[in-house]
């Protein structure tokens, strides 16, 4: 029977339905048709059958912060290569940041992105529009048309909104169009021309530092504006301990704030840049042990709602140079699952929490489909082999770029099968069906 996939004997982890047990999942015509005890359904014929003993079956992962680079910087990534990397990493959906060339500050760019994404067919792509025209921090972009064209959120990511009045107006006006406002929190007069975390290592390397307060001051401003306007805000790529304290306090107060961090902020410290390693250069910069510990704690206690990769592809051209001239950012789609699983193996997170952070919560925050294995829902499903060991190598990378500080790392656990609306987008080869 066409359009039928039968996932047998996997550990189904579906926090939205309170399920964490061995179940069979039946997919028919792109939707979840049944989630039942093994042996309940008759043997299926004609479709694809996978025995997933020892593997996890979870709602399709959603990365709410990626840079797909198209239009404008196709030498770094295209929508096709970026979404293929997403599928390879276990993601069925990504939110695409607007700092393309041109900036996604109008419906034409949004429509273009969606058309390219549909053509590629590897993942759902949720365009994120700009807050300001050209992301130049002066005038509001056309939120209404962006929303109509398919944008789900707005941000000037890559740059902060320096003008507090503009940020206030963005929060207010976004409410007319049901758009989430995402904050790239950085006080530029403090971070200006910095290349790494401020501190002793920056001093030793002779590099200009970005102090943690550069992030925290802006996090506080945006929390205050969200509180003041009564509008929700999402804080992107949180990297410091004090930012997390501020967010925790705001949540306690009832401010509608959600927040994400990236795997590198709970895996690496600033030490990764020693020796002028531009593959570990990013903004916000890698911080200290204390910050890493705080990020891990915040993932556990709910201060952080999501893990997003901030997937930022760059060519060698952008990275193989003097450290302070090199581009910021690393690719992340293909390492997010194993790096998060490290926390699970270290008992810092449980599997259910991991699924919340990588699927349930991003769907809820963005207001998009997914995050659930409910019967009738679109069959966006990720199968994870939590034991599979591999060395993260350049040859394995599906992204067009190779800029990762995790190259050569021995990792454990990866997505082995990715299903988008009942269609396999990654991993079928590794199974005999």
């Amino acid at each position: 029977m066409p359009g039928l996939i039968f996932l047998k004997n996997g550990r189904v982890i579906d926090p939205a339905n309170g399920i964490d047990q061995i179940q069979d999942v039946l997919i028919v015509d792109g939707r979840i048709s049944a989630v039942v005890k093994p042996g309940t359904l008759p043997e299926q014929t004609g479709g694809l059958v996978f025995d997933l003993t020892g593997k996890w079956v979870v709602p399709g992962l959603i990365d709410m912060h990626v840079h797909l680079r198209e239009p404008g910087q196709e030498y770094k990534e295209t929508i096709e290569t970026g979404t293929r990397a997403a599928a390879a990493g276990g993601f069925t959906a990504v939110a695409a940041m607007p700092n393309t060339k041109p900036v996604n500050d109008n419906q034409a760019v949004t429509v273009f992105i969606l058309a390219k994404a549909a053509e590629a067919g590897f993942a759902r792509v949720y365009p994120v529009g700009a807050i300001s025209s050209g992301s130049n921090g002066e005038h509001l972009a056309e939120f209404g048309e962006l929303r109509q064209a398919g944008a789900v959120a707005v941000t000037d990511d890559g740059l902060p909104v320096g003008n507090s009045q503009l940020m206030r107006r963005a929060l207010e006006y976004a409410s007319n169009h049901d758009l989430l406002v995402i904050s790239h929190a950085e006080e530029m007069t403090l971070s200006h021309s910095g290349a790494m975390n401020d501190g002793a290592l920056a001093t030793r390397l002779g590099l200009r530092g970005i102090p943690h307060v550069a992030e925290e001051i802006m996090v506080y401003r945006d929390l205050a504006l969200a509180d003041f306007t009564g509008r929700p805000i999402h804080i992107a790529h949180v990297s410091t301990r004090e930012s997390l304290s501020l967010i925790r306090r705001a949540k306690e107060k009832g401010v509608a704030v959600t927040a994400e961090t990236a795997p590198h902020y709970f895996t690496l410290t600033e030490k990764a840049v020693d020796g002028y390693n531009t593959l570990a250069k990013m903004n916000p910069p890698l911080r200290t042990e204390a910050d890493v510990a705080a990020v891990r704690e915040a993932l556990r206690d709910g201060t952080l709602d999501a893990i997003a990769t901030d997937h930022a592809p760059h060519g060698e051209l952008d990275k193989d140079m003097e450290f302070d001239q090199a581009a910021n950012g690393i690719i992340g789609l293909e390492t997010a699952v194993p790096l998060t699983l490290r926390l699970v193996r270290e008992n810092q997170l449980d599997a259910r929490r991991m699924v919340e952070l990588l699927s349930v919560n991003p769907a809820r925050i963005l207001g998009v489909v997914g995050g659930t294995l409910s019967v009738g829902a679109p069959a966006d499903i990720t199968v994870i082999d939590p034991e599979k060991k591999f060395v993260f190598s350049e040859e394995s990378i599906q992204s067009k770029s190779r800029n990762s500080p995790f190259l050569g790392w021995e990792l454990q656990g990866k997505a082995v099968l990715t299903i988008l609306a009942g269609r396999i987008t990654w991993g079928q080869d590794s199974f005999s069906s």
């Binding site: 401020d198 390397l205 002779g206 590099l207 450290f323 302070d324």
Partner: protein
């Protein structure tokens, strides 16, 4: 130094990479070479046939000339490239330019560059030896070594001395190399200046920080004033040169707080009357010109040790 000791560095990127034995080897070699510069015929054949490129991306009179004089006194062939004359102004990257230079088979490239880590980047991409002649705000190892040599000559040793470095520590690669070098050799280093010019974590390089210049120089054997780099000051770091001179300049009063035998140093070029009283710069306790003389000897030693030493 044990008899088995050998200087094995191919590159000179920073004093952070040097052991105490390495530093001693350079200083001893430099001391033995110093005499060459006072001969009537100031030339030895040691590095005959070696090719050395001076690759300078920042203006420099003293350091570039010092390296060139050092190389020529050792009979090496030297070539100079400055930023304005190089293809980097046509958009070529540092790595590409370096690879092209390397294709001409030089034995050593001496790099001065405004970006921290650039010397290391060069060393990672070419086969020739690289000497860092100052990279951004990171290190300036040959300056650190010539300062060590100058102090050792004047004081008979380094261990146990009190060194006070006054001024812009944050933007000074000279300060970084000196803090590392002097503390490795057993001196105690105290830095002072406007708090805006004291970088975070400088203690981890080996320096003590004092908020008061007078306290920093109290009983010091060496006072080193650093150049205020006016061209680097985009930040609001201090109110005016006038106020800087008044509160952070090395004046007679400051010098009087140090040991009576204290020597006065400055890596040059001096902003006279800003960071250093001209009378001190030219006075009997000043070893500023001795630093320049020793610079040639130290650079001869470095060239010899990385290219001719076997």
């Amino acid at each position: 130094m044990t008899s088995e000791y050998r200087f094995t560095h191919k590159h000179v990127l920073g004093l952070a990479d040097f052991s105490v034995e390495d530093i001693q080897a350079v200083l001893q070699t430099a001391e033995s070479f110093k005499e060459i510069s006072s001969r009537a015929i100031k030339k030895v054949p040691t590095l005959r046939g070696k090719t050395i490129i001076n690759f300078f991306f920042e203006p420099s009179t003293r350091t570039r000339l010092s390296f060139e004089v050092a190389a020529k006194r050792m009979s090496a062939d030297t070539f100079n490239i400055s930023n304005s004359g190089s293809s980097t102004v046509k958009g070529e990257t540092l790595i590409d330019t370096a690879r092209n230079l390397a294709a001409m088979n030089p034995d050593c490239i001496i790099l001065r560059h405004p970006r921290s880590g650039s010397a290391r980047l060069l060393a990672d991409h070419i086969n020739a030896s690289v000497i860092n002649a100052g990279d951004g705000t990171h290190e300036h190892p040959s300056q650190g070594l010539l300062d060590l040599m100058t102090v050792r000559e004047a004081k008979g040793g380094i261990a146990g001395l009190k060194i006070a470095i006054i001024g812009d520590i944050a933007h000074s690669r000279v300060a970084h190399s000196n803090i590392i070098g002097f503390s490795k050799m057993g001196a105690s280093v105290t830095v002072s200046g406007p708090a805006t010019l004291i970088p975070p974590g400088i203690e981890e390089l080996g320096a003590r920080v004092s908020r008061s210049v007078m306290e920093a120089v109290d009983g010091a054997d060496v006072i080193m004033a650093l150049r205020i780099q006016k061209e680097r000051q985009q930040d609001p770091l201090f109110p005016s040169l006038r106020e800087y001179a008044k509160f952070f300049g090395v004046s007679q009063k400051v010098a009087d707080a140090a040991s009576p035998e204290a020597i006065i140093m400055h890596p040059g070029p001096i902003n006279r009357g800003v960071e250093l009283d001209p009378k001190l710069a030219d006075g009997s306790r000043s070893v500023i010109l001795e630093q320049v003389t020793n610079g040639v000897a130290v650079r001869m030693a470095l060239l010899y040790l990385i290219m001719g030493g076997d």
